[in-house]
Symmetry: C2
Subunit: 177 residues, 2 copies
DNA sequence: ACCTGAACACCGTTCAAGT
DNA sequence: ACCTGAACACCGTTCAAGT
């Protein structure tokens, strides 16, 4: 005898995101998700293969939000947007590269950066440039969040110095083959 | 009646590093460490506050090895050394910023980068420059390891393009206040 | 003074039994 | 067709009891 569903994949992923942000990766347990969703833990396995798959769904939903918040034509706009996203959702941001989001989701997030780079350096050098800028922004934000910048100096202005250096270097006519 | 020690903090940390590299963070359990060290799990608590503290000791030992392997005067030398360290000890490299190594250990690792930057841009801009270069290198290596570069193109040459761009930009007379 | 067995609370996951 | 209680193997951690 069929029973009306008491939850949904969407609700499960959404609960997972809230719990991750509130309690960190250690707090994201099957039990915690089940409880928030109004069900017992074993029921989650009807909708999700295992905890790892749930974690990946959370990472995917997060990178998709990141992509949405990435607007503005310049590299500075994009870098600033990425940093403020990370500040409001630090755990989710971390999960993106910790767990590994799906290739499609990563490709979508790359689009705005690639476009900005194409404008600066042209089609041929755009991919390398995008990788350099994304690596820098991701590295800076991650190091900042983990408290790795401890040698003094202003961190906001270090971020500005980085984006200035990169933008300026990519705006130049071109140096070497 | 005192008993001769059956293990040591050093042996515990060393076992932790081996296990982390061999089995990943999920495999680094108190039980696994105890067994490799020839003792039962509860005994570890005589030498280590808890699992988290053990994890931090492992991260510290790893960043200290990283520091040792960071030689060469140019930023390219340092970036290449960092990448090859990460390739031989991926799990340990990840743990450095995941768990957060100690401020002193991070400061020691920063020294060679700071020195190379001082040569290029002078004392005043050295810290910002070091942060930009380190962020880029760390971000690139982390993204590469997590399989985030999926849009084609050669990854080695993207790494070269990054280090070229940064070195070149930092070598220039100076652009703006 | 270190080591251990036993115990506790908590994981993730499976599965037969309920509706 | 979904949901659950019970069960399993495995965590991290504490502590009284051994030597």
């Amino acid at each position: 005898m069929p029973t009306p569903d008491r939850t949904s994949l969407e609700a499960i992923v959404s609960a997972g995101r809230d719990i991750l942000e509130a309690s960190g990766p250690g707090g994201l347990t099957m039990n915690a998700v089940a409880e928030r969703v109004g069900v017992k833990a074993p029921s989650l396995y009807k909708r999700v293969r295992d905890k790892d798959a749930l974690f990946r769904l959370v990472a995917d939903a997060t990178i998709s939000d990141l992509t949405t918040s990435l607007h503005g034509p310049t590299l500075r706009d994009l870098a600033v947007a990425m940093r403020s996203f990370a500040q409001t959702r630090p755990q989710g941001f971390r999960a993106i590269f910790t767990t590994g989001a799906s290739p499609e989701a990563i490709a979508a997030a790359s689009e705005p950066v690639l476009r900005a780079c194409r404008n600066l350096v042209g089609e041929e050098r755009a991919l390398d440039a995008a990788r350099t800028v994304t690596s820098w922004a991701y590295g800076f934000i991650t190091m900042e969040m983990s408290g790795a910048f401890q040698l003094g100096g202003d961190i906001d202005s270090a971020f500005e110095a980085g984006i200035d250096l990169l933008t300026q270097a990519l705006s130049e006519p071109q140096a070497r083959a």
